[in-house]
Amino acid sequence: MFRAKTIFCIGLLFLFSTTQVLASEQLSSPSGKVILSISGKIEQHNSGDEVLLDRQMLESLPQYQFTTETPWTEGPHQYQGVLLSELLRHIGARGDTIIAYALNDYFAEINLKQIRDYPIILALKNDGKAMRVRDKGPIWIMYPLSKYPELDNSIHHASMVWQLNRLEVR
């Protein structure tokens, strides 16, 4: 059974000091390597009908972190990244569902209504370090499984896409 047992969770939700005005600001274009593209029902665009984001753009958004265990790792780890809901608001997403695609062409459909009340992040760092592809990076959709045991099931596990590189809003 993969369920994380005796999980000691530090569900730390933490706002970095670099606050930034989010919406109503014209999106800039990526200067570095694009690691995430977002398409579909979105209001903001910076390349055709898509939003392209590099690491620096993502890291300039407010950062959150929490510590959790997962079925694919040993022991608790601290994950840090962008709040999915904030990112979607930032780019003016207008849909209830997103499809998350991975570098290895894995994909998962995520019902946003189901996770509305949880701080789901697009993790960019694991224990303070940027994640390589072999470490499930550069972006891993991370659920705070330890703090919210109700999320710790196969449905949500399937949605925790690692090596994320594309989001489609439906």
């Binding site: 059974m1 079925p71 040993e74 290895n104 196969s154």
Partner: protein, 659 residues
């Protein structure tokens, strides 16, 4: 009661439903868990097959790169992805099952070592080292077969299949144990229902005879009543009481009494039809519900015919002699019958009516059974009403004492008075002392009544003394219950002390009847009374048992000749024999004689001639209020003789006789 029962049933159903639902839920939960296990196994198998796919993609990417068909970024990505997949298999709960497969650990270590060693060669390959690429392809291809094996065995390997089978088996076993649980729960509920039915049976039946008890009888009666109300039918309640059962119990013992009751119960059962109800509703009291024929409205005469027939049959059956513990017993019974809806439509009243009728039957000792009649109830209600009112009258001092002078026939002076109870009831009018006493005794008011009479009489006597009148004797009637049930001597003593009345002025009148025997059996009371200095008078002498032994055993000082003997003096020819005998008896025994009920002057001559010194009756005075006695006593104190005329009248005939 019905609501309570409904509540209990609802509760029971609720408990059963909760039990079934939670059992079902736990079964489904278990099934779900088993399914989850399958999912786990599937996710493991998925990871293994992804490993194979990522390896093949890496090899493919390397081959494409060799031919310039792919980019360095693509190659690097494939390499990273394969490593990532390896990491997934190496760590975490999800893939722990895979790692336990045979040869899996070695393979993973082997893969990781290869990747670490070739970390450098990737950058060489990217830089265009085709030799390194060929080597890596060669090396990776060797791994394709064992990775494929891992992937396949993760799907159908012995362990996995066994585990799945085990999970299925566990689920099956759980299902079986759950069925066991459900069956045992069901049995428990059934046993519970049976036990409660048995308890109910016990609670509603008499253990000695096995007949329904009073409670059950009443429930049944309600059901019968409801049915009759619907069908306009009739039913009769018979209340059957054994005569003299107490006597049988006392003389033959309780075991014999019980045996008799069982036999009576059997006889009753044999008398009634199957759907009629027989119950034991008290010690020696049985009851029967008899349903009338459903022929619509019947004439009352017809009812009496049908219901009376059963009662008569019961009487006959019960009256058959039987031998109980070697003793011949002749049981007999009294039955009261009340008919629905003729007498009443109320179930409780039906039983009360039948009870009243039963008592009447017992009293009359005729047929053995009696139908209820409304007048019976009126008598009962009058007595019940009187008892309530008597209690209040005693508390509120609404009773009165009248006094009848007892006259010295020689001197014409008042020697004493007899206190007589008077009660003017606001709705029933004048109530006779006999009825007052009988009501008081029936409703446990005898002690209060007697105390009240005694106290009031003594107070009055003292009052006259206080007024300066000459000492006169106060005769008070005491009801028999006082001798048997209560401490008469103590009451008298307390009253004398309380009122300050001299004991020698008090005369207690005892009526001669069966209760005399009870008084005799406790001579202690009489002795104590005599010790106090109180006199005893035997009242109504000659009408009761007139047993000389009473006179011998009890220390009476006075004898009151019953008025019926005085009446004899008015017959023609005059009958003096009894008066003569009684007076000479009294004289012999040294008893003072008082003649009661003197109504005619000529009686005086006869009585004086025979030596009777004292008398009372309408000739002198009716019983009158205390004030009138006071007037008479006042005359007496002033030297006048209230009945002075006696002296003239009595002497004349006597003189004539002497002529």
């Amino acid at each position: 009661m019905l609501r309570k029962l409904t509540l209990r049933i609802v509760l029971l159903v609720l408990v059963v439903v909760i039990f079934a639902v939670s059992s079902g839920l736990s079964f489904f939960r278990h099934a779900e868990t088993s399914k989850m296990l399958e999912v786990t196994l599937k996710t493991g198998a998925w990871a293994a097959s992804e490993l194979e796919k990522d390896l093949l993609k890496l090899v493919h990417s390397l081959e494409l790169f060799q031919f310039g068909q792919s980019t360095p970024e693509e190659l690097e990505l494939r390499y990273e992805l394969f490593w990532s997949r390896l990491n997934v298999l190496k760590t975490g709960d999800e893939t722990s099952e895979i790692r336990q497969l045979e040869g899996a650990a070695e393979l993973l270590i082997n893969l990781e070592r290869t990747l670490r060693v070739k970390e450098q060669s990737i950058s060489k390959i990217v830089d265009g080292d085709s030799q390194a690429a060929a080597e890596l392809i060669q090396e990776l291809k060797q791994l394709v077969i064992p990775v494929r094996q891992l992937s396949v065995s993760s799907f159908n390997g012995k362990d996995r299949i066994l585990k799945l089978q085990l999970a299925k088996k566990l689920q099956y076993e759980f299902g079986v144990s759950l069925i066991g649980l459900l069956v045992s729960g069901l049995l428990l509920v059934i046993m519970l229902l049976q036990q409660s039915a048995r308890n109910r049976e016990q609670a509603l039946h008499d253990s000695l005879t096995g007949l329904p008890n009073r409670k059950f009888f009443k429930e049944q009666l309600k059901l019968f009543e409801a049915r009759c109300a619907r069908t306009e039918g009739k039913l009769a309640v018979h209340i059957i009481d054994l005569n003299d059962f107490k006597n049988i119990n006392d003389t033959l013992g309780h075991t014999a009494g019980d045996k008799l009751l069982v036999e009576i119960a059997n006889r009753l059962r044999s008398c009634v039809r199957q759907h009629d109800v027989v119950a034991r509703i008290g010690g020696d009291e049985f009851a029967v519900i008899q349903e009338g024929p459903l022929e619509g409205l019947q004439e009352r005469a017809h009812d009496i015919d049908i219901f009376g027939k059963l009662a008569s049959r019961i009487c006959e059956q019960i009256a058959k002699p039987l031998v109980v513990e070697n003793n011949q017993v002749y049981p007999s019974t009294s039955i009261g019958i009340s008919v629905y809806p003729n007498d009443t439509v109320l179930v409780d009243q039906l039983m009360i009516n039948a009870d009243i009728a039963m008592y009447r039957a017992k009293k009359e000792k005729g047929l053995g059974y009696r139908f209820f009649e409304p007048e019976m109830n009126a008598v009962i209600q009058r007595r019940k009403g009187l008892s309530d009112d008597l209690r209040r009258a005693l508390e509120d001092d609404h009773l009165m004492l009248f006094y009848q002078p007892i006259v010295d026939l020689e001197s014409g002076l008042i020697d004493g008075v007899e206190a007589l109870l008077r009660w003017q009831h606001e709705s029933y009018g004048y109530i006779s002392p006999l009825e007052i006493v009988s009501v008081a005794e029936q409703f446990a008011l005898a002690e209060e009544l007697n105390s009240w009479v005694l106290r009031r009489a003594c107070q009055q006597s003292q009052h006259w003394v206080d007024q300066g009148f000459s000492r006169i004797v106060m005769n008070v009637n005491i009801s028999p219950a006082m001798y048997i049930l209560h401490d008469l001597a103590a009451t008298v003593e307390a009253t004398l002390r309380e009122t300050g009345m001299p004991a020698d002025l008090l005369v207690l009148e005892v009526t001669e009847d069966t209760t005399m025997q009870d008084i005799e059996s406790s001579p202690d009371i009489i002795k104590r009374l005599c010790k106090l200095g109180v006199s005893l008078a035997l009242d109504d002498f000659g009408t009761g048992y007139s047993s000389l032994s009473h006179l011998r055993k009890l220390p009476f000082q006075k004898l009151k000749i019953d008025k019926s003997f005085i009446q004899d003096l008015n017959n023609r020819p005059k009958d003096l024999r009894f008066i003569k005998t009684i007076i000479s008896l009294a004289k012999t025994l040294n008893l003072q004689v008082v003649a009661e009920g003197i109504e005619l002057e000529e009686n005086l001559h006869d009585l004086l001639a025979e030596g009777c010194r004292y008398g009372q009756g309408y000739l002198f005075s009716r019983p009158v209020p205390a004030e009138e006695i006071a007037q008479l006593l006042q005359q007496q104190a002033a030297g006048k003789r209230p009945y002075d005329w006696i002296r003239n009248r009595t002497r004349e005939p006597v003189a004539r006789i002497h002529k």
